[in-house]
């Protein structure tokens, strides 16, 4: 059976070139980067090189890149490190309703600790309002955290403008760029952000590896305490292979950026055009303007997402859904809820993300099967276009 992976926003395979770079660091080049003999220094050099590769992708100084265990740790560090450091200054944080749970659940925790959090709305296109952002700032505001690219609907937020507002009011600005890295233009200097979260496994690097960019001069508390690694700011023996892999993946992301974006967006658009024109009662969620190049989020009316996912899986096709039934919490997607999608339609949403290894034949295979699956589920469904909801 054919295998078609269309869930690149969940994770990506490690590219051959990345794996090749990593392998020696599992075996012969296994030294601890903190050790002072040659075997240690060899590893330290590898970490230094990777730091340059990641810094190069986002136009930062290498000394501003701190390796972590991934996007979640980076988000937690930025939030808890800032909250703790600036608690004498204020207790107010501004974020959005559509953040990743690494931000939302950290904010919920801080609320229990006495912090106040404002959650910004999004409009029908999926974007925040800069006016609402500025109005939310108080003299107690210590941090604004807004994601660069949303993981479900792929919409890109006006980070440069938002960061300028934060700067004007003397508030630190963090962005979760996990979905944006390698997919949209990122220049931390131009964007004017103070902190930025990144993850390796979304850009064809290994899992369990990521980084937090902290602009020179920005001081937040440490999150992990221990040894003197990462310039005394993030303790723990370096995930050497993970860091080497992330570095190589970042180098490739920079070198292939234009080709990657063109490849993904043309196949994504082809997928969208075929679905919308060939399957009735289907809707795109979020604007197609300024969107993650591989992301497509579709509502199939009158049927439920988990059923679609399971049937696609029978054909070797991997996608994800915003349906409540697929989540252990049984809560419908908070992003689609914030976007104003009616609950009964959220249950029928599927997220497709194409990536570097997707082909046009893959898309044709998916649409051909999807048509049959949607028709079959609508036949079974107790709601339809005639009966209505």
């Amino acid at each position: 059976m054919r295998n078609v992976y269309l869930d690149y926003s969940a994770t990506t395979p490690v590219k051959e070139e990345v794996l090749k770079e990593m392998i020696p660091y599992f075996t012969e080049k296994f030294g601890n980067p903190s050790s002072l003999y040659d075997k240690g220094l060899e590893s330290k050099d590898a970490v230094t090189h990777a730091r340059e590769q990641v810094a190069d992708l986002i136009n930062a100084k290498p000394s501003e890149v701190y390796f972590t265990a991934g996007g979640t740790e980076s988000d937690n560090w930025a939030l808890f490190g800032t909250a703790e450091k600036l608690k004498s200054k204020g207790n107010h944080i501004i974020t959005t309703k559509i953040e990743h749970h690494a931000i939302l659940h950290s904010c919920a925790y801080l609320e229990k600790e006495g912090y106040e959090v404002t959650y910004l709305d999004i409009d029908k296109d999926g974007r925040i309002s800069l006016k609402q952002l500025e109005e939310a700032i108080t003299d107690k505001t210590i941090l604004i955290s807004i994601m660069l690219v949303n993981n479900e609907i792929g919409t890109v937020q006006p980070i440069k403008e938002a960061a300028a507002i934060a700067k004007k009011h003397g508030v630190l600005f963090h962005t979760d760029a996990v979905q944006g890295l390698g997919n949209v233009d990122i220049d931390v200097k131009d964007m004017g952000v103070d902190m930025m979260s990144m993850s390796s496994h979304k850009i064809y690097g290994p899992k369990g590896s990521g980084a937090l960019y902290i602009r020179k001069g920005v001081v937040i508390d440490n999150y992990l305490h221990g040894g003197a690694q990462e310039n005394r700011r993030r303790a723990g023996t370096e995930n050497l292979t993970g860091i080497v892999g992330f570095g190589k993946a970042a180098e490739l992301a920079k070198a292939n950026f234009k080709g990657h974006v063109e490849h993904c967006s043309s196949l994504r658009n082809y997928l969208k055009d075929r679905i919308i024109s060939e399957i009735p009662d289907t809707y795109v969620n979020g604007t197609m303007e300024n969107r993650h190049p591989g992301n497509l989020n579709i509502t199939f009316k009158y049927i439920e997402g988990e059923s679609i996912l399971l049937l696609l899986n029978q054909f070797g096709i991997s996608v994800s859904t915003g349906s409540a039934c697929s989540s252990t919490s049984l809560e419908p997607s908070h992003v689609l809820t914030a976007l104003g999608v009616p609950v009964e339609m959220i249950h029928g949403t599927v997220r497709f993300t194409v990536g570097d290894f997707t082909t046009k034949e893959d898309i044709d295979y998916v649409v051909d099967n999807l048509k049959k699956i949607v028709a079959r589920l609508r036949e079974i469904s107790s709601v339809n276009s005639k009966k209505g909801w």
């Binding site: 399971l310 039934c325 609950v343 079974i380 469904s381 709601v383």
Partner: protein, 148 residues
Amino acid sequence: MALYNDIVMDHFLNPKNVGEIDNPDGTGIYGSPVCGDMMQIQIKVEGETITDAKFKTFGCGSAIASSSMATSMIIGKTIEEALEITNKQIIDELGGLPPVKVHCSVLADKAIKNAIYDYAQKNNKYYKALEGYDPEADEDDEHGEVEE
């Protein structure tokens, strides 16, 4: 590790009794699209025996499988026997459901009871098991034991 066992998958992939009955003797609907599941079960009754049952379901894999299993279980049974069926029996016949999906079997159970209730109302029939029965009652607040 699959999400569902083979029996559930078979009833999801090849559901039995999909459709609607012409001039049904009873129709039961339970759930709503807002909740993510809505089932319609229709029955044909001859004498006191359910001779046919069909379903239409908007919902996830286990909701469709539960509908298929529940309709299969009541065909050939008397009304009294069908009223004795519990959601636990539907789960057992399916070889088990994940804890978060237990409510799908509750929905199927309710849809059957609502179809029989409809039949009883239309035909002025009395069944002890339906005494004080409320077809609208929300018995779906138990989502099973969810491990956090």
